[in-house]
């Protein structure tokens, strides 16, 4: 379980997260929606310690982690796999080495086990035979999938997705969205997905959180949100309902 208590994050004079309170239950898929600059990505980065809150607490599986040192965060990052907005693959390494990178640092595995887990991860994201390619030799969509494979190879308890379908064509977007749902089920992970895609959120989320100005404006199941009269929610729904 992940719990945010009164989370505040400021950049200079700008308050990005403004006293946010949220509980994410184990095993659920939560979509976080909101317009640009409302603190969605900042929230994810606070979970894995890439950013630290100015005030408030973050509880992960009963531990308050926001004041953890960089070394203490090692165990948290082992259970939280993050897929970044950009593929963030290491250009100098092959696909195999990219996926094996985290496995070799987080676990003590034999080379045989590393190879097996790399191949399993690539199979789960439906790409195979690309192990020896460099990221620059692949399309953006393929890079996104490899990035997803790199994260799921660690078999994390918590999966964090930062706009996983941004910049992708509609077909690849659908494929990635289904992958998120399938992987969450197969790995029995808690998934937090930051997205602008209300359509996808309605189809695969257990709950949807709508953020605005660093605070939660609306929260509920897809069915509950469909009935919401909140103007921001209606704006997000307008595009979907007009389809």
């Amino acid at each position: 379980m992940i719990e945010f208590k009164g989370l505040i994050k400021k950049f200079g004079n700008r308050t990005v997260l403004n006293g946010l309170d949220l509980i994410i239950r184990e095993g659920e898929i939560v979509f976080i929606l909101g317009t640009s600059g409302t603190g969605k990505s900042v929230l994810l980065k606070n979970i894995v310690g890439l950013m630290r809150p100015d005030e408030g607490e973050i509880w992960i599986d009963g531990e308050e982690v926001s004041r953890f040192s960089e070394d203490q965060y090692f165990s948290i990052r082992k259970k939280c796999g993050m897929v970044f907005q950009q593929p963030a693959l290491f250009d100098s390494l092959t696909v195999f080495e990219n996926i094996a990178f985290g496995l070799r640092r987080h676990f003590r595995l034999s080379e045989r086990e590393v190879t097996d887990r790399v191949q399993l991860a690539l199979k789960l994201v439906n790409i195979q035979g690309v192990e020896q390619k460099r990221p620059t030799q692949m399309s953006y969509g393929m890079q996104k999938r490899v990035s997803l494979a790199r994260t799921i190879a660690l078999q994390p308890k918590i999966l964090l997705f930062d706009e996983p379908t941004t910049g992708l064509d509609p077909i690849t977007t659908t494929v990635i969205n289904h992958l998120i749902q399938d992987l969450s089920k197969q790995l029995k992970s808690t998934s937090i997905v930051v997205s602008h895609d209300m359509n996808c959120a309605l189809s695969i989320a257990d709950r949807i959180v709508v953020l605005d100005k660093g605070q939660i404006e609306a929260i509920g199941t897809p069915d509950e949100l469909k009935k919401s009269q909140h103007p921001l929610v209606r704006d997000f729904l307008a595009e979907v309902l007009s389809l």
Partner: protein, 259 residues
């Protein structure tokens, strides 16, 4: 006032970053293969330019000294004086400028791109320390490679000086080389080596710091590269003055102790 505050802020940030690099170097295990890869890539990247620049610096120094020494009828010392000046001052400075222009800018751009494309964040999320993984190997690589490049650049400068000495002043190769051991003493070599090391530390620290702290997408990477070039050039010149100043004091103390 704001400008001065920014300069001191940058200097302070760079020094703190150097401290972090040193702490990581002492406390964490650095993979040897990463370090050797970096040393090799720095040497390969700068080898042709260092060779060419070394050759011409030797040639220019020889021509300049030949003009003066011809008047005093001391052309026999041409090789010794020209090489001494190159070893003590021009060689290390030249290598440092080469490194800052090629390797410093490259390192800063590479790390900056890694930062803005979230690769550095990914390293942290994948259970590693970016300082241990990418910064320290680059830092050691630049520092160690600079000594190899200095040695090679100096050999090329002697070679350039020999050829120009023969063509321009009629000093044959044997004559040119004969007085090098007389004039170039261990102190000159020590000075040159210390200067080379300190310039390399400046280039390595500034380029890794500017790259690592890049923000603001492609424009930010461009800014980091420009800032690296300007900052390393200024700091290298300041470090040149500082090492000469300290060197003079050390020499005076040594002479006083001996007498």
């Amino acid at each position: 006032m704001k400008f001065l505050a920014e300069i001191f802020g940058e200097l302070g940030g760079t020094l703190l970053f150097l401290k972090t690099i040193m702490t990581t170097l002492v406390n964490k295990k650095i993979r040897r293969s990463d370090v050797f890869t970096q040393i090799w890539s720095v040497i390969i990247a700068s080898f042709p330019t260092t060779a060419m620049a070394g050759f011409f610096v030797g040639a220019i120094m020889t021509v300049q000294f030949a003009l003066l020494m011809n008047e005093f009828g001391a052309l026999g010392y041409l090789g010794g004086l020209s090489t001494s000046a190159t070893v003590r001052e021009i060689g290390p400075l030249l290598i440092a400028f080469m490194l800052s222009g090629k390797v410093g800018a490259f390192t800063s751009a590479e790390l900056g791109t890694m930062r803005v494309t979230e690769q550095i964040d990914a390293i942290r999320c994948l259970g590693s320390d970016p300082l241990q993984e990418i910064i320290v190997p680059r830092f050691i690589g630049i520092v160690i490679a600079s000594f190899f490049l200095l040695g090679f650049g100096l050999i090329m400068s002697i070679f350039g000086g020999m050829i120009l000495g023969d063509i321009f002043a009629g000093v044959n190769f044997q004559e040119y080389l004969r007085h090098i051991p007389t004039v170039v003493n261990p102190v000159s070599i020590l000075f040159g080596t210390v200067k080379c090391g300190s310039f390399a530390v400046v280039t390595a620290t500034v380029s890794t710091y500017k790259g690592f702290t890049t923000t603001g997408g492609a424009k930010g990477v461009g800014k980091a590269v420009v800032s690296t070039s300007v900052m390393t050039m200024i700091l290298i010149v300041l470090m040149d003055w500082f090492t000469s100043f300290i060197g003079d004091i050390v020499l005076q103390i040594a002479r006083g102790y001996r007498s």
